[in-house]
Structures are given as structure tokens and as C-alpha cells.
Amino acid sequence: MKAAVIVFPGSNCDRDLAVAFARASGRQTRMVWHKDATLPPGLDLIGVPGGFSFGDYLRCGAIAARAPIMRAVGDFAAGGGPVLGICNGFQVLIEAGLLPGALMRNAQLTFVCRDVGLRVETTDSPFTAGYQKGQRIRLPVAHHDGNYVADADQIARLRGEGRVAFAYRDNPNGSAGDIAGILSQNGRVLGMMPHPERAYDPALGNTDGAPLFEALAGVTA
């Protein structure tokens, strides 16, 4: 698996994500600067990391979504390449139009930084194939704008099409339908607020994120 992580000014989970990809694949992760217009050739996976790209100015992820590299990321996704956006990366993918809905200020207006309980809602994706359907896992969240918003029809469509990847068991931010992570229509783009890369190394005290990276390495080997 040849993976790349996109780096914006203000990204701060980019190295953690690169380490997770490298550990899963046994190959070095390419770091790609947002001003680049093209991706390294032969990529199997792109990660859009967490952080505070462009200082969260205007709206979280809005400026990053219009960075030069995002056109290439969109083309990669349209061609069926897997793209994983975590936290601010999820916000960027939504702002780029690769995933539906919006992420708004947490309902209780506070930054939430803790482990949350999740339920794996589908195993039918390259990201979630390593879990059991309905499996209960715990992952850390750390965000101020993770409140997933979409109209009722959109939520029903996401549910009906099996595109809710992860749901909160104890909703920390007011997200509609307890949604913690969603898939694109072709199932190749995943955006999620929780941080699987912070739950991979046993030294971190939690390895519930490991099946996600190992499944990715398996399907893109």
C-alpha cells in the first residue's frame, strides 16, 4: 500500500496518520503539501488529517477544501481511490463536496476531548472491513465543530444506503442521527470525527483503531 497524507498549514495529526499508514503497510508514507497540484504516482490511499487547517478561518475546512491539491484528491476519489478524512480532514472533505452535509459547532458549544463509544454500522467498505457489524469500539474525539447536520431525507438516505460507517453510542456533539462517520456513494471516501490514528499503537492504551488501518493495508496491498 502506497499512502499519502495531505498537509495544510495548521494540520497537526498529519504525522500520527502517516505513522499509522506506514505501520500498517510497511512502506513510508508520502507527505504532500497542499500547494502541490499533483499527487505522487501510483497511490493506493490518501489521508486528510486532523488539525486546524488555515486556523479554521471562515468555516472549518473551507479554505483547505479549495487548496490546489484538493482538485487532484477529488479526481483520485472519483476514480475509486480510497480517501480517509479524520476530524478536520472530515470537515475538509465535506467542504470539498466529496461527502454530503455539514459539520457545525458542537451543540453544547464546548470543545470535546475524550474517548467516545462508537458502533460500527457497516463492514462493507475498505475502511471498516476489519470490524464486525455492530461492534462496539472506543476512539478519542477532539473537536469543536463535529455536529453533523443534514436534512432528514439525507440522513435517511445515508442510513438506507449503508453509508453511516460509525455511530456514537453517547453522542458528544449533537450530531444528527448520532452520525460519527459517513461514506461517499461509492463507499471509497470515509469522513469521521473520531481519531483512529490515536488508537493504533498499544503504547497509547487503546488499539480499537487498528482494524481500520490493517483492513486498508489488506485491500490496497
Binding site: R66, R105, N147
Partner: protein, 77 residues
Amino acid sequence: MFVTLKPGVLDPQGAAVQHALGTLGFTGIGAVRQGKVLEFDMDTADAQAAEADLARMCEALLANTVIEDYRIEVPAP
């Protein structure tokens, strides 16, 4: 340019402001909605063209039309 949440989109920040005003003793305040104002200096005397440009900017970047509406005012040059 005024960027505001669409009707029906919950605005927890507006609700917090409303609550705080009530705490200060202001009465008779219904819903409070928080939005953004963006001011532009534009190098044109053509108000119609400026408004069309601003609308394109809103659609491309400045408003998230999933949850936000925008309104443009072009003062006389």
C-alpha cells in the same frame, strides 16, 4: 455581504447569546441568530458586475449553501 444560517438550522451560538441577554435582564427577546458580515473594497464602478462577482464568490467559498444563506448589498459608488 451577510452570511446567515438558513431558517430551520439550529444555531447554538445564537441560543447562547439569547440566554446571556436574558441573564442581563433584557426582556422580550425572541430567537437570536448569529451570522457574518464581510466587507469588500472592489475596484469597479459597475455595481451590477460587482454584485454578480460577489454572488459567485459566495457560491464558491464564502457561504456554505448547505446550511447558510447570503445577501449582498452594493452601496452607491
